[in-house]
C-alpha cells in the first residue's frame, strides 16, 4: 500500500506539478489541485499504464483521494 501511494504521488506530481507533491493520502484531489474531469481521465490512463491494470470509471466513482485510489488499485491487481 505504501509503495502504491508513493507511486500515485509520483504520477500526480508528474501530471499536476509541485502542488501535488505536498498532497497527503487523504487530501481531496479535486479540491486541492482543482483538476477537471479531462485531467481525471488522463490520470486514470496514467494509473492503468503504470500498474498494468484496467480501472473501469465506475470503480473510481466518488474516489477523491490518493488513499482511495490506492484502495481501488489494490482491488484490481
Amino acid at each position: 500500500m505504501t509503495d502504491v501511494l508513493a507511486t500515485l504521488g509520483r504520477l500526480a506530481t508528474l501530471r499536476f506539478g509541485s502542488r501535488a507533491a505536498a498532497l497527503g493520502p487523504h487530501d481531496d484531489l479535486f479540491e486541492s489541485l482543482g483538476i477537471d474531469s479531462l485531467q481525471a481521465l488522463d490520470l486514470l490512463t496514467d494509473l492503468e499504464e503504470e500498474f498494468g491494470i484496467e480501472i473501469p470509471d465506475y470503480e473510481v466513482q466518488g474516489v477523491q483521494t490518493l488513499a482511495g485510489l490506492a484502495e481501488v488499485i489494490g482491488r484490481r491487481r
Binding site: 479535486f30 477537471d36 474531469s37 479531462l38 481525471a40 481521465l41 488522463d42 486514470l44 490512463t45 492503468e48 499504464e49 484496467e54 473501469p56 470509471d57 465506475y58 473510481v60 466513482q61 466518488g62
Partner: protein
C-alpha cells in the same frame, strides 16, 4: 481546395486530405459540425483525395453529440410546440384535441428523425468513401466522437485516448451509427460491455479488442497517421476501393433499426428529463460517470 470553418478545416497535403476538428470545447457534434461535414462530403466527391486523415487540435478527439444544442433546438422547441398545441387542443372537442396532440408528437419525432437522417447520410458517405480514411485520436473519444472515428477505416490512437459509449446514462442508444459499425469489427460481448456499462476503455484495451489499429506515444497520433496515409496511397486506388467495399460493407438494415430506436428513446419523457439534468449540471466532471448515475 482548402476550407476553414467554425468546426472543421481541411487542406490537401499532397494526395492526402487532412481534416482538422477544432470546435470548442471538445468538437461536440451539432448542426454546425454536421453542416461542415456535409460540405466535406461534397468536397471529396468533387475532389476525391487518395486518402483522408481526420484529427483534432482540441484537447481530445471528440466528446460526442452536442447535447446542449440537441436539448435547446429539439427538446425545448418541442416543449414550446407542445404547449402551443395543448393550448389549441384545449379549445377543441376531445376527439379533435387527440388528433392535434398526435400530430404534435409526430412533428417532433419527424424533426429528430430528419436530424439523425442527415447525420447518418453524412457518416455513411464518409464510411463508404472509395478512398482510405484514417482517424488520429487522442484524449476523449466519447459517444458521437467514437461513432465519428468508427466511420474511418483505420484508427490510430495515442496512449491518452479513451473510448466510451455513455449514451445509456441519458436513456439513449448511440444514434450516429456506432453499434452497427462496431459490430463489423468487435465481438458482441465487447460491444455489450461498452454499451451497458458506459465505461471508458483506454487505448491499449481498445487495441487489444480490435477497435484501433495502432497505439502510439502521447502526441504522436497525427504523425503516425500521416505515415500510414502515405503508405495506403501507394496501393492502386481501384483495387483499394474494391477491397474496401468488400471488407467494410455499410450495415444499412442495422443502421435503420438504430435510427428508429434512437428517435423512439429520445422522445421519451425520462430521456428529456435526463437531458435537462445534463444541461443544467454545472459540475466539473462531465466526462466521468456520475455517482449513482
Amino acid at each position: 481546395m482548402e476550407y476553414g470553418g467554425e468546426a472543421l478545416s481541411w487542406r490537401h497535403e499532397a494526395e492526402v486530405l487532412e481534416v482538422e476538428l477544432h470546435r470548442e470545447p471538445l468538437n461536440e457534434i451539432g448542426t454546425t459540425t454536421l453542416r461542415e461535414l456535409e460540405l466535406l462530403v461534397t468536397e471529396v466527391e468533387v475532389h476525391p483525395p487518395r486518402a483522408m486523415l481526420l484529427w483534432s487540435s482540441r484537447p481530445g478527439f471528440c466528446a460526442g453529440a452536442d447535447l446542449r444544442e440537441l436539448h435547446a433546438s429539439l427538446v425545448t422547441r418541442a416543449a414550446r410546440s407542445g404547449e402551443t398545441l395543448a393550448a389549441a387542443a384545449s379549445r377543441l372537442p376531445p376527439w379533435a384535441a387527440a388528433v392535434v396532440r398526435r400530430i404534435g408528437a409526430g412533428s417532433t419525432r419527424r424533426e429528430l428523425a430528419a436530424f439523425i437522417d442527415r447525420i447518418h447520410a453524412t457518416f455513411d458517405a464518409i464510411d463508404a468513401a472509395p478512398f482510405p480514411t484514417i482517424a488520429a485520436v487522442h484524449g476523449v473519444v466519447f459517444g458521437g466522437g467514437l461513432e465519428l472515428a468508427l466511420i474511418c477505416d483505420l484508427v490510430v490512437a495515442d496512449r491518452t485516448a479513451r473510448f466510451c459509449f455513455p449514451e445509456l446514462r441519458l436513456g439513449l442508444v448511440p444514434g450516429f451509427g456506432g453499434i452497427p459499425r462496431l459490430e463489423r469489427d468487435l465481438g458482441n460481448g465487447v460491444i455489450r460491455d461498452l454499451l451497458l456499462s458506459g465505461r471508458s476503455i483506454g487505448a491499449p484495451r481498445a487495441h487489444a479488442v480490435g477497435l484501433v489499429s495502432q497505439v502510439v506515444p502521447r502526441g504522436e497520433a497525427r504523425e503516425a497517421a500521416r505515415r500510414l496515409a502515405r503508405q495506403v496511397t501507394r496501393v492502386p486506388s481501384g483495387a483499394l476501393a474494391t477491397a474496401k467495399r468488400f471488407a467494410k460493407p455499410i450495415p444499412r438494415a442495422r443502421l435503420a433499426e438504430e435510427k428508429r430506436l434512437f428517435v423512439e428513446l429520445v422522445s421519451r419523457p425520462e430521456t428529456i428529463e435526463a437531458l435537462d439534468r445534463f444541461v443544467k449540471d454545472e459540475g466539473v466532471r462531465p466526462y466521468l460517470a456520475a455517482e449513482g448515475g
